[in-house]
């Protein structure tokens, strides 16, 4: 076990293992105080009391979506992560024959700074890329670039689905987003009959892995077999996604390792890098340049807004003058909106975060009376910025008073969203 930013990690880096059999989060029974916070924040009930004393545990990995909301909400630090590639990445960074590729997600740059004394949410994108370079990453790619690619693919898919309604073999509406690995596993596990509604698009990191080893290999003149791709995420469930055996379309396994924001902060500190004094560095342009539409992927409603910035122009044939579509922004819970598009009409959309909140919406879809064309779902309340791999809310484990207040507030917020 290794402690990183207040969270314990098992330091194994599994390869060739079926991720369905891995406990990505688990409870240390010696530290569990039986408070039940984890059970309250769990959307599936995978984490539950296992004995008369109320000690909790994840009962089976099949029921766990690996989101880690239990971990970031545990006031006693009793929940640890089961997988960490940090040691393996340090080895690969030292190996002169391996070209290590960095692929950080949008939300990482709004959480990482907190580990180095910046106020909550401070944008540290430039310093993050500089730190990755300093750590020895050879190719500085950016998952925000593939967030833009995702919009092109998923937005086009949505327009296709809208236009093919009524025709034979039409793919169903509403279309669900497929960026969030907890949500994708949730549909596969609890709503397999709605799999046809899931966008066939991989998530942004699911796209950057294979693009790095094909397009990136071509652009950088580095053979794909020498590449070691590192997915850097605000998320624990992305470790599960990275290990999915089907993600091997480049001819190699597309994603070689996945770490979260806390682990990146640990690596930067371990390497003795003075983060605050770093310059702002841009990623490699071809697989790195990104837009505002990409960076908002980290918020609940962000994918929806970015997709509408494309969908509006495709469906109406007109330029969207004001790209800021605030009607779909959601700090938590469920938000439905009707967005007027000229020459087309109103498009009904819905944004959901928190898995428990999806159930009534999905039942509507099952019964065939969902009013929506497009539904965005994020497992973590508020989206990836509040992901299970992000730095902890310092109030949660601070003083007894602050701790209790933070917990009361978090639960209050959860209840409000149901």
């Amino acid at each position: 076990m290794k402690e990183m930013e207040g969270v314990l990690y098992q330091t194994n880096a599994p390869t060739g293992v079926d991720p369905d059999n891995i406990y990505f989060v688990q409870v240390d029974p010696n530290k569990c105080e039986a408070c039940g916070t984890c059970e309250e924040v769990c959307g599936t009930g995978a984490i539950q009391s296992i004995n008369d004393e109320g000690i909790h545990a994840v009962v089976n990995p099949a029921a766990c979506m690996n989101c880690g909301q239990c971990l970031v909400n545990c006031p006693y630090g009793a929940i640890y992560e089961g997988v960490s590639y940090v040691d393996q990445i340090f080895e690969k960074l030292k190996d002169p024959n391996t070209v290590v590729v960095s692929m950080p997600a949008p939300a990482v740059r709004y959480g990482l700074g907190e580990c180095f004394g910046y106020p909550t949410g401070t944008y540290v994108g430039g310093k993050m890329h500089a730190a990755l370079k300093k750590l020895g990453f050879d190719l500085i790619y950016d998952n925000e670039w593939t967030a833009d690619v995702t919009i092109m693919e998923e937005g086009t898919e949505l327009v296709q689905r809208v236009k093919e309604q009524g025709k034979p073999k039409a793919r169903p509406l509403p279309q669900f987003t497929s960026c969030c690995p907890g949500w994708v596993k949730f549909v596969e596990t609890f709503y397999p009959d709605l799999i046809p509604n899931l966008s066939s698009c991989k998530s942004p990191i699911g796209m950057l892995g294979p693009l790095a080893k094909t397009y990136g290999s071509h652009e950088s003149h580095v053979p794909a077999k020498k590449m070691y791709t590192v997915s850097i995420m605000p998320c624990i469930a992305k470790k599960y996604e990275g290990m999915r055996p089907e993600l091997a379309d480049s001819g190699y396994h597309d994603i070689d390792a996945t770490i979260d924001t806390r682990e990146l902060a640990y690596m930067i500190k371990k390497a003795g890098i003075d983060f605050k004094s770093l310059p702002d560095v841009k990623p490699d342009r071809e697989l790195g340049e990104s837009t505002g539409g990409a960076t908002i992927f980290g918020c609940s409603g962000g994918v929806m807004e970015a997709a509408l910035r494309l969908g509006y122009e495709v469906l109406s044939g007109e330029k969207l003058k004001d790209p800021y579509i605030k009607a779909v922004r959601a700090s938590s819970g469920v938000k439905a909106a009707s967005v007027p598009i000229p020459n087309f009409g109103e498009i009904q959309v819905c944004v959901v975060s928190g898995l428990a909140n999806t159930i009534p919406i999905l039942e509507q879809v099952r019964q065939g009376n969902s009013p929506y064309a497009f539904i965005e779902v994020m497992t973590c309340p508020g989206g990836c910025v509040n992901g299970g791999g992000q730095p902890l809310d310092p109030d949660l484990r601070a003083s007894l008073f602050k701790n209790v207040m933070a917990r009361v507030n978090r639960r209050y917020r959860m209840r409000q969203t149901v």
């Binding site: 690619v149 397999p192 066939s200 071809e286 837009t291 960076t295 910035r309 007894l400």
Partner: protein, 116 residues
Amino acid sequence: MRNIIKMTRRGFIRAAGLACGYAVLSVNMTKEAMAAALAFVEQRQKHVYDADRNNKLYEYKKSQDNPMITALYDKQDGFLHEGPCGHMSHRLLHTDYIDRSARVKALKAKGYKLAL
């Protein structure tokens, strides 16, 4: 009195914490602490939307305006020259999903109670 005895451990901690908080600090400070915790996620979100508005950080706002996206899908010599959802896109960027319900059904058959 019965209600207090029946109070769960969790409920007690919540009530005691609140009582201590109000006793030690003034009501206003307690409210501030509550607002701060509530705002934790919103603060991160605010920085995201600020960055989106910041033209120095993000010159372009729409994915389709990103020059590196235009280059990727360029009809002449783009890597994905067939455009979004073309053949190469489908090979590399799209996927199929797997019905994983069997193991959860088996768990329920064993008597585990899940939330759904």
